[in-house]
């Protein structure tokens, strides 16, 4: 076999671009986060500007840190490590440039549209359909560039980091496309093709796996490349990294429903989500320990090397977050923690600790190498580390305390079963100091990040961008590689598939059959082991050795691994016919044209960011908010509005509880009806006007989505809209509040008055006069 030597020049310009974009957008995203956090403690911090209001900028904060900060960081890490691991320059400089500039344009589009209230309201997928299409196109460009590079590689073996990148690319594409399916009304508005429970399940299948495959798997790939480089020793156990990869990819995709525990989601889906979330503990900790043990014998380096400090702490935060996640996925823990600040603390221990620290470690390692110089100040990097660590600790401890305090207050009952704290506002006032502490912790983290930016900028200015070349000895093709048949005939594949099928049988097996199944699986494992040893002794290549050199087969198997969980959870719920009467007295009534307009305003203002529309089947919820929510109540909700955090109370049974005047007063000045509330004023709703002409096309579009409007109702949409608005206007005018019929506040009030009234459930309290409502009432926002 002859060899030729190739000289390869890596494309590190793209790496530098993504790196600086990540740092700049990291500062922007965290600044927006700090502004949002400040508004929870001091509601005036929006300065009365609607574009700066919490409910609009919170999605901007999450999108900025996830897709702009971590996204660009991930691309920098992937572009750098992929070229070196594959011994090949990225296949196309043009595609790399399109990828970079396309991604930045998407981020700018998000920064413009989200404060304007142009949103789908689906968390971490708020961007409207034209931007969604742009995301899909740019992601495909990235994928083509990556897989093209794979095809042109000069290294036979695929290192485990590449596996994590492959799983990221294909899974994010599937998640994004499936969750974003929507019918557009116009350039800035669309409605999800899913409704209610189905929409919730698809959304959280996406939402959780955005965490899994955007914030975790690519960063794990980066960990497996950069941590051994920084520690100057190979990963502790490469075999464990193999198990880590397959177990994580297979199990993660099932865990989404843990975001919907105790809700109207079918019980079986909740149980699946909970069980798989608990199982995630094992592969996550396997990866975490593999990362930490890579530092074996090098712990003393942590004293001097800020890169290793950040990596070690980042991996430790990964371990902590992946311990906390399964814990929160247990239904009884979720009953207390869900909708409270514990989830926010959990997310930030992952985002600030895992993503942020891995990013910092990678930046400190990369910038000196990309500019051919030394780090400007190790002391400043150390100071950054300690400032950021203290900031995270303050942040998450504040959120733990806030959650425990509010959660316990919300569920506290008197001996006679009544609520000890019937007013929601009481609990908000109690946790306000924790909101202040959280803002302080976030400020410290941001200050550390700014120090890093200064340090890296000084480093870059001290050096010059360098070009890196390498020489690779390429073997001429010898004996043909094993074909696809060898992959498909691989025993591990079939053992795994049969094992999974057998374990799935546990779900329908009675105890004795379950014992038999477990025995069968154990025997299967034993047999697999014996055959593997026999093959090794016979000198046969391992299946792993075959598969890891075949990117296409590898990609297909990864796809199968993620599709099994996705389809098992989504398909039954998507295909099931709604057992809900469409006609007669029990039928769900579609929203009227005005209510639909009001619902769109509810989405625009981001009310779901602070208010849920899901009364869980828990005493603490039903005693406070009323009858628990039923799946059939949401069948016309495109998109669903269950929310994920209650800064204010649940609104699902709000309809009819208060007069329209109360809602008007509350929206104009929340403290006039709820003293102590941290909700901002939405005064602009009074002067804003609905586009009355959109009523008809909105109903027509809903008709296409399966909402049973008659043609006559669609044709009369504008007239019926005006008639319903006039009734609200007359009611308000009689109490001294003149408003225009097409004022946005009228539409929103109409929607709020409709909430939760479709199943013949009487509101918890009778309509309360506005004066009386200023005193504490159950569930007062």
């Amino acid at each position: 076999m002859s060899t030729t030597t190739l000289r390869i020049e890596y494309d590190d310009t793209s790496v530098r671009r993504f790196l600086w974009a990540s740092i700049i957008f990291g500062i922007v995203g965290m600044l927006v986060g700090l502004l949002a956090a400040s508004q929870l403690a001091w509601w005036q911090a929006n300065l009365g500007v609607k574009y700066l209001t919490f409910s609009r900028i919170r999605p901007l904060h999450t999108n900025a840190v996830i897709f702009a900060f971590v996204g660009n960081m991930m691309f920098a890490g992937i572009y750098y490590s992929t070229q070196r691991l594959l011994k090949a320059r990225m296949a196309s400089d043009l595609l790399s440039r399109i990828h970079f500039w396309g991604w930045q344009l998407i981020i700018v589009a998000a920064a413009i549209t989200l404060p304007l209230g142009i949103t789908t309201s689906k968390e971490y997928a708020e961007l409207e359909w034209p931007i969604d299409i742009a995301i899909a196109v740019v992601w495909v460009v990235f994928a083509v560039n990556f897989f093209w590079t794979l095809a042109r590689r000069n290294e036979k073996h695929l290192y485990v980091a590449i596996w994590f990148y492959i799983s990221t690319i294909i899974t994010v594409a599937i998640l994004h496309i499936v969750n974003s399916l929507a019918l557009p009304l116009n350039a800035t508005k669309s409605y999800s093709v899913y409704a209610g429970v189905q929409d919730a399940l698809v959304q959280w299948w996406y939402g959780h796996n955005a965490v899994a495959f955007f914030l975790t798997t690519p960063i794990l790939g980066i960990m497996y490349y950069f941590l051994p480089k920084a520690a100057e020793r190979p990963v502790y156990s490469y075999r464990l990294s193999v198990v880590h990869f397959w177990a994580l990819v297979f199990i993660y995709i099932w865990a989404g429903p843990h975001h919907l525990l105790n809700t109207a989601l079918p019980e079986w889906a909740q149980s699946l989500g909970m069980v798989f979330s608990v199982m995630l503990w094992a592969p996550s900790w396997g990866g975490m320990l593999n990362g930490l043990l890579t530092l074996r014998g090098a712990w003393q380096k942590l004293r001097e090397d800020p890169v290793l400090k950040f990596f070690a702490a980042g991996v430790t935060f990964y371990g902590m977050a992946t311990f906390e996640g399964p814990l929160l996925s247990i239904k009884s823990v979720s009953a207390l923690a869900h909708y409270t600040d514990w989830i926010i603390g959990h997310v930030h221990s992952g985002a600030l600790g895992w993503n942020g620290f891995m990013a910092a470690g990678m930046f400190y390692w990369l910038v000196p190498r990309l500019y051919g110089t030394k780090l400007h100040s190790t002391k400043a990097a150390d100071a950054h580390f300690w400032l950021a660590t203290l900031g995270i600790v303050l942040y998450i401890v504040a959120m733990w305390v806030s959650s425990a305090q509010q959660g316990m207050m919300l569920r506290a009952t008197n001996p006679d079963g009544t609520l000890v704290y019937p007013s929601w506002v009481e609990t908000v006032i109690a946790i306000r100091p924790m909101y202040m502490l959280r803002a302080l912790g976030g400020s410290m983290y941001l200050a550390g990040f700014v120090m890093m930016t200064w340090n890296l900028a000084k480093t870059a200015r001290a050096g010059k961008p360098v070009t890196v070349t390498t020489e690779v000895a390429v073997e001429e093709p010898g004996a043909p590689e094993p074909g696809i048949g060898a992959v498909l005939a691989g025993r591990p594949l079939w053992f795994a598939l049969v094992g999974i099928a057998a374990v799935a049988g546990l779900g329908v097996a009675r105890p004795m059959r379950a014992v038999v199944i477990i025995g069968f699986v154990a025997l299967l494992g034993e047999l697999a082991w014996i055959l593997a040893i026999r093959d090794k002794e016979a000198g046969k290549p391992s299946w792993f050795g075959i598969i890891e050199r075949r990117p296409l087969s590898f990609t297909v198997l990864t796809l199968v691994a993620i599709l099994i969980g996705g389809m098992a959870e989504l398909l039954p719920t998507l295909l099931v016919q709604q057992a809900v009467p469409a006609h007669g007295d029990d039928a769900q009534k579609p929203y009227t044209a005005l209510e639909l307009q009001g619902r769109d305003l509810y989405v625009r203002e981001g009310c779901y960011v602070c208010h849920s529309q899901m009364v869980r089947s828990l005493t603490a919820d039903t005693a406070r908010f009323g009858e628990y929510s039923k799946p059939e109540e949401f069948i016309y909700d495109h998109p669903f509005q269950w929310g994920s955090k209650r800064t204010g109370p649940d609104l699902h049974r709000l309809g009819g509880r208060y007069p329209s005047l109360w809602h008007y007063a509350h929206l104009m000045d929340p403290r006039s009806t709820s003293p102590g509330s941290n909700m901002p004023s939405y005064k602009w709703l009074e002067s804003g006007r609905i586009d009355a002409k959109l009523a008809r096309p909105k109903l027509a579009l809903m008709q296409k989505l399966g909402v049973p409007y008659t043609n006559a109702e669609v044709d009369a949409a504008e007239a019926s809209q005006k008639a319903q608005a006039d009734a609200v206007v007359t009611d308000l005018a009689q109490q001294g509040v003149p408003v225009a019929w097409n004022s946005e506040v009228v539409a929103l009030i109409s929607y709020l008055q409709r909430l939760g009234r479709d199943v013949g459930i009487k509101p918890l309290g009778a309509a309360v006069p506005v004066a009386a409502a200023t005193t504490a009432q159950p569930g007062v926002p």
Binding site: R84, P234, P465, T467, L506, A522, G525, E548
Partner: protein, 64 residues
């Protein structure tokens, strides 16, 4: 109280079986990781990270 509560639930033994299966798999993975079969093949893959032989020069400058 708990025994009484669970007495009428037919499926309570299944989670125990599932847990046993999970622990069994967990232990099998640990043993598999620790055992050193095909170590040479694995070591080659683990060392890919260090297979560099890179040279650097300022961007735009002539290459040596």
């Amino acid at each position: 109280m708990y025994a009484h509560f669970y007495a009428h639930m037919r499926w309570t033994s299944l989670p125990v079986f599932a847990l046993l299966l999970f622990l069994g798999t967990f232990l099998a993975v640990i043993v598999r990781v620790v055992l050193s079969s095909r170590r040479q093949e694995i070591d080659v893959a683990a060392r890919l990270v260090f297979d560099d032989r890179e040279t650097t020069h300022a961007a735009g400058s002539p290459r040596s």
